[in-house]
Amino acid sequence: MFSLRDKNLAEDIVSQIKKAEVHLKFMHVCGTHQDTLVKHGLDVLLQKCGLEIGQGPGCPVCVTTPKEIEEVIVLAKDGKTIASFGDMIRVPGASSSLQQMKGEGCDIRTVYSIEDSVVLAEKHKDKEVVFMAVGFETTAPTTASVLLRDPPSNFSVLCCHRLIPPALQAILDMGEIKIDGFIEPGHVSTIIGAKPYEFISKDYHVPQVIAGFEPLDLLMASWMLVRQIQQGTAIVENEYSRAVDKGGNQKAQQVIKQVFEPMDVKWRGFPIIPHSGLMLREKYASYDARKRYEDELGWLAEKEFAEPAGCLCGDVLRGLISSKECPLFRHQCTPETPVGPCMVSSEGNCYIEYLYSKK
């Protein structure tokens, strides 16, 4: 369709980055970016040019907390039908995973879209269908859009949606690593546009580039960040203009606002990040699984659930270590026997590293 391959151009970009003679550390927050970087060896190539590019908390399944997984497990045990995206179902929780629960006879369904779970609820009026809604700004409008169309009353949502810009701010505020620039996720940005990132450049003087997912997109975005740094500027640039409008998708933004309000939530590996999550507005309370099943879930509110023993997903998600630095990587922890979510999800750093790196 729109093929973006041009070897000479790629070489030109790389040689210009090399010429800049820099030593910089960039972070991106998207599993698809990580996939492109590792699959095409761009991570190694750019490292040779003085650029280290790592993945932060950009995998929605990975940042979902053990407590949220416990919530769906409790509901599954209680006889509800649980629907979610495939990766989520395999993530190990503190007591079990949804996949294990399925083996034990619970009704767990993998769906491709939230609409599939609504169809399920329509077809099985005798069942209570709970959709575990994970995902960033890209996915939140799909949940909102469905709730605006009066789904059946036996349908509800366990909302685990999270927002990217507050997480970027949290990483900078925590100050554990030096970040010279952010490569912003193209698909999140198709929804939110450029504006929600601007405060980061303004308040923290960190350059940002919204990038697409072809190898050339990521090379170009890296080059644009280098150029900003050389020029001493810190703004939000848009490399992915073929899909991202600076104002974003207004319609999607509007449905998000209509259905959700921001809330403070914890992310795996992070403390509570202010205004980084979405909860359903009061008007949609009857679809809010946490309100509807308060009796079943209420006791979980004050409880804490530990990370899987030995798993360093938290450090990986904060960009502190690479997957290979986790002692369990490739030993106890493989895609067949995942210890943490970063080895389960196709957007997880450990999974991607495992998939493409040599032993």
């Binding site: 939230i114 996915t139 859009s145 698909h187 998708n249």
Partner: protein, 77 residues
């Protein structure tokens, strides 16, 4: 999960706010189009069963030229 795949709208059912999207090599699937304004022939990005954005075909075709121009400007600077 934030993966979005580009495809071409080949048919629209306005009432149901759904469209048939052709992803090439014979793969066609329905997508919800309530979040975008589309017409037949448009290219869209589809995420989790929903079209989330219309791709700017002109912009896409000019992407490489634009990159080259940016690079040469820098080179000349």
């Amino acid at each position: 999960m934030c993966l979005a795949i580009p495809g071409k709208i080949v048919e629209i059912d306005k009432k149901k706010q759904s469209a048939t999207v052709d992803y090439g090599s014979g793969t066609r699937r329905k997508a919800n189009v309530s979040l975008v304004k589309v017409k037949r022939g448009d290219y869209v990005l589809v995420h989790a069963g929903f079209a989330i954005q219309v791709l700017d075909e002109k912009e896409a075709q000019e992407t490489l030229a634009l990159f080259r121009e940016m690079l040469s400007l820098q080179e000349g600077a």
